[in-house]
Subunit: 334 residues, 2 copies
Amino acid sequence: MSTLADVAARAGVSKSTASRALNGSGYVSAETHARVTRAAQELGFVAHPGAASLATGRTQTVAVILPRADRWYFAELLDGVQEELLTGGLDLMLYNGADGSEGRARMLDHAISRRRFDGVIAVGIEPEAHEIERLLKARRPIVTIGPHSEGASSIMLDDRLTAHVATEHLIDLGHTDIAFLGGPADPQRAGFGDALRIRGYLDAMAEAGLEDAARIVPAESSVPGGYAAAGDLLGNKRTRPTGLLAVCDETAVGAMIAARRMAISIPGELSVVGIDDHQYAEMFGLTTMRQHPREQGRTAVRLLQERMQNPDAPLARRVEASALVVRNSTAPRG
Amino acid sequence: MSTLADVAARAGVSKSTASRALNGSGYVSAETHARVTRAAQELGFVAHPGAASLATGRTQTVAVILPRADRWYFAELLDGVQEELLTGGLDLMLYNGADGSEGRARMLDHAISRRRFDGVIAVGIEPEAHEIERLLKARRPIVTIGPHSEGASSIMLDDRLTAHVATEHLIDLGHTDIAFLGGPADPQRAGFGDALRIRGYLDAMAEAGLEDAARIVPAESSVPGGYAAAGDLLGNKRTRPTGLLAVCDETAVGAMIAARRMAISIPGELSVVGIDDHQYAEMFGLTTMRQHPREQGRTAVRLLQERMQNPDAPLARRVEASALVVRNSTAPRG
DNA sequence: CTGTTAGCGCTTTCAA
DNA sequence: TTGAAAGCGCTAACAG
């Protein structure tokens, strides 16, 4: 509850000197600095953020836009962002709402108009939604995680390569009938990342001369989603593939559970590869492409901070690689 | 970028009148009100939150303290909170960090000292951590979700009754050898909710004269946690229980997967009950006690708003009931 | 290196 | 019902 004036009085200096000493900006003698810091400490002084923001235009807050928190990937990301923000003394204002949901647009408007943040980390924003353009109008630096957008720094998994490598892994094991499990029923509406994963899968199939065998089975990115989709796909023994690349580990796990229910042995009769290296992958023995959302979150904060300090800093565009983690869900074609 | 002064000028009134018109406080003629609102609209005016907060002391922000975002329960809760906050035009400042984690205390101090929020929603705070006391010092209303604390409103599941009912369900089916799966290895360190669930389980067992058969098998509240713990528990056919109450659905699902791997039929040889009605419960046919974290989140916001508007409003203490949802994971003892 | 002086944009008495 | 004026607590020129 004490104000800068109190601190200044106690230290026997003016408010401006106190301010300078506390912010480390401008010249202050070592002795004065010490006196002021001590006074502040003794009074338990903490600057009123509203007042500071009014005076400087800065808020020490980062907005995080997230489609949802209930998937492993996003939750991990969020944790990483939070950790890194904390070390910088920045606050995290969360705006979570599904793409295209009713509240989402309203949320974004609300967020932007109140401009309560110095920077934005936007996760999984679809370029065609033009959300980035609206954010850019707020003239705050932006880092996207997922699809890259003009005017923003970005971090993304090399989705295409990831799916390519995963598919090749199956091909190398001798599989020729490999299905891709994931994406919406209407492939046109596939999210950016999903579309790239499908692309990588198709490329790899084509390179191996298997383009005719390629098939894409829509599935939600969740365990029940993978379970349901795999149920249909694996039901008929005649048409069942021997290899499966899932859009993410959750979907892959769902498929594995479905397979087990149908008494299809993994990896004996069916090899499954996921993408993520989800917390559950280990227990299911799932072969997968590992990515590090937590690290991505931390990196996003660092990139953002650079541009918050220097708005003219160049935009960064990071593409992350993933590594194949082989467990027991894949084996040579029987 | 336009300020209240701009709006006032455009509407041909003073700043104070404009402010009154926009905030709906005080007397303003209908005609003036209309003119001001129009002017504000045309200019796309939005009050600078920092300035408003400096003048009023209020921030239109609610802090949410969460142990983690990667579990279904917390993620759902968060979504509910966000939705409801949005309808009230409030912003959500997130502080997530595991109980007792290194950053957690720092986070809380940071949050409190900056007092950037008008109220707090604290999820799963353990009473003995004294975090609530520290929050109360910030003199902001608090709603806890989970353990109740003096001085705060609270919403909690009736954990004890829930576990009691779930256990009774198994007893009614004729089971006598029923284990509880969950809680830490050292029962003293069980979280508040977990401890109550264990209590409810023990009570029900005792009431049925089964106290000697009661046993508690520690397990993490996660699928892999349930899987690992069930592996040990179910391994020996001699000592294997016929009924299992898991601390949450994730643990229950893990146990079901473990059972299936060991070719233990559910519900033929083993009945399993969970708590939550998790997104996955349906697909696993899991019998469970349903709770509604999303609704709990919304309710928390409403309770908080009441006390934000009127600090003298009485503290609320809501205890929510859960309902038994019977699926296919439970059956009469074979 | 330090103090004085103006605000930042809004709300809120108080008088009119 | 409206306006003038005084801050809220901080920062940032500008002098000194």
